[in-house]
Amino acid sequence: MSDVVIQANNLTKEYVRDEFRVMALDDANLQVHQGEFIALMGPSGSGKSTLLHLMAAMDRPTSGSISVFGQNLQTLSDAEIARWRNTHIGFVFQSFNLIPVLTAMENVELPLKLTKLNKTQRREQAKRALELVGLGDRLGHTPRQLSGGQEQRVAIARAIVTDPDVILADEPTGNLDAASARDVLTLLGRLNKEFNKTLIMVTHDPGAAKTASKIRYLEKGKLLPEGQKPAEY
């Protein structure tokens, strides 16, 4: 299948701390297709973030394999992974993680520093991304001068500015009030529908999960089969 973006086979992540072993992710198998918008849900500690981190190669699996666009992530070197992440992955954090000393414009421009674009092109592209998230009039503001919802929209602009294939979001509305959360979800929905981005979003909010085209549940490190959910959901 040529439109498979992410392929996880028997993906396992085990943390060993002191004498304790934690199966953060236990033998997960998952296929994500081009243009899908998947919401990952499940109780706290069920392994949602762990799965997302493995997809972004922010961590290495204990066993099993994960490939993105047919590229097995385990075979890449540190430097290759850094490059790969820059071009293919946009990551949105729960706590925004903007660089406080840089303006909205500079924050969004940052990932483009790793591309071949010149300064004018970078500026233009960053400006377009900020306009897309509705912050074309906040270019010179620093994160401190923005509301939480605005900060998260800047973070989304930063995640999409390199035009990545996949956008990974870990509880993107977790720190936001209801109205801002709605804006952010609308934005993510647009990225999926209008720009055909593949989206995987971790969320605790059933309302938010409805924006997605598909919901997958995790429980105690196990990725439940499609259509199945933990008892409490």
């Binding site: 922010m58 540190d78 850094a82 490059r83 820059n86 660089i99 000393v101 990932p111 520093k113 790793l114």
Partner: protein, 388 residues
């Protein structure tokens, strides 16, 4: 650079208090080192710019300085007719018999007095020192107890002003002029009439040295060979420049102490920079994680923190240079073991000295930044994101 330098500059500004404290520590270290360099450079340039490159200094064989040399008028008669000596316009050979003694002058900061070189010479000797000019008053007159003082001496000793009289053993000497010797060692000396000084000191037959001017470089070497190998004369002849340059050693103890203190301080400053940078790395751990997620590599993170540390130390280096700048041309004196008297000179801060200060600062920044930058680069993305 991948991660923009403005990111580092803004962070330095954001934590301005630590930035300034750390930079000041580096600045003080640089200032100590540069003061020593400026002192040594001032002394060196005052000594090497003394005299014409063709000048020769003739002293008794085995004497290390003019002061412990002795020369008779008979020896002088033999020396002055040697071949290869340049002539004055009036046909006289450029050979000057001189008497050098040390006198004590008092100053407000040295109530017990400081040794100053007093040089008796004839008008030929004065004429041979083309770079030495009478800037105020006039030259001494032969046969009179008159003195002209170097401007360095005049600046530091209020008793050595025009019109004032100085008591020296047999009589009072009147200050009639001030000498401007450019940057040369003549600024530290007092000039007077040879015969008058010799009479006062009972040294009519035991003078000190002879200053000669060779016609050219080849003749200079020939003269040196001729004079030093003449058994009858029993004298040494050296280039005047070489003679003065060898006195640069007078600054060696201060140089050693200064460099020693600067090195000790630099260890402290490097640790301060390291401490500051470790704190920055710790505080910005989530940012480091974020940068990595955006695609910046480990070497990129390392370079960014190194640059930040270097910028910090560069700031310190610049402040250090600014701190010592007022020292430039500040006149001071240093005791010389060769002449047993004081050499007056100006601190000299050259662009090379400032550059060395900046480099010294950057080395501190490099050493201080290395470990923190490595620790930043080594951080695991997830661990970094979770900190704070």
């Amino acid at each position: 650079m991948k991660i923009p330098i403005s990111y580092n500059i803004r962070n330095l500004i954001a934590r301005r208090t630590t930035t300034i404290m750390t930079a000041l520590g580096i600045a003080l270290t640089v200032a100590v080192l540069l003061s020593v360099f400026a002192l040594v450079e001032g002394l060196r340039s005052s000594l090497v710019s003394t005299g014409d490159p063709l000048n020769l200094l003739v002293t008794r064989k085995g004497s290390t300085a003019e002061l412990n040399s002795s020369m008779t008028p008979e020896q002088f008669q033999v020396i002055k007719v040697k071949p290869g000596i340049a002539k004055l316009p009036n046909g006289e050979p450029m050979a000057s018999l001189e008497l050098v003694t040390v006198i004590v002058l008092e100053s407000p900061d040295n109530p017990s007095g400081i040794n100053i070189t007093m040089r008796g010479l004839n008008l030929t000797g004065a004429a041979m020192r083309e770079s030495v000019k009478v800037s105020e008053g006039r030259l001494f007159q032969p046969g009179k107890r008159e003195i002209v003082v170097g401007k360095g001496v005049a600046k530091r000793y209020p008793t050595a002003r025009i019109g004032s009289k100085i008591d020296l053993g047999r009589g009072q000497w009147e200050v009639v002029g001030i000498l401007d010797g450019g940057r040369s060692a003549s600024n530290s000396e007092i000039f007077c009439d040879l015969a008058q000084l010799a009479a006062d000191q009972n040294r009519e037959t035991g003078l000190s040295s002879v200053l000669l001017r060779a016609t050219d470089e080849v003749a200079k070497q020939a003269l040196i060979n001729d004079l030093t190998s003449d058994r009858r004369l029993n004298v040494d002849a050296v280039s005047e420049r070489a003679y003065y340059e060898s006195q640069t050693g007078a600054a060696a103890p201060i140089q050693f102490l200064g460099i020693f203190v600067a090195v000790i301080m630099s260890i402290g400053s490097s640790f301060a920079a390291m401490n500051t940078m470790y704190a920055a790395v710790a505080r910005r751990a989530p940012e480091i994680g974020t940068l990595r997620v955006l695609g910046f590599s480990k070497p990129g993170i390392l370079a960014s923190f190194m640059i930040e540390s270097l910028l910090l130390s560069l700031l310190g280096g610049i402040i250090g240079c600014l701190l010592v700048l007022p020292l430039n041309n500040f006149t001071t004196g240093i005791g010389s073991f060769t002449t047993f008297s004081e050499i007056t000179f100006d601190f000299r801060i050259t662009p090379e000295i400032m550059l060395s200060g900046i480099i010294f600062a950057l080395v501190m920044g490099l050493i201080g930044g290395l470990f923190p930058a490595f620790s930043a680069a080594r951080k695991q993305i997830l661990t970094a994101l979770k900190q704070n």
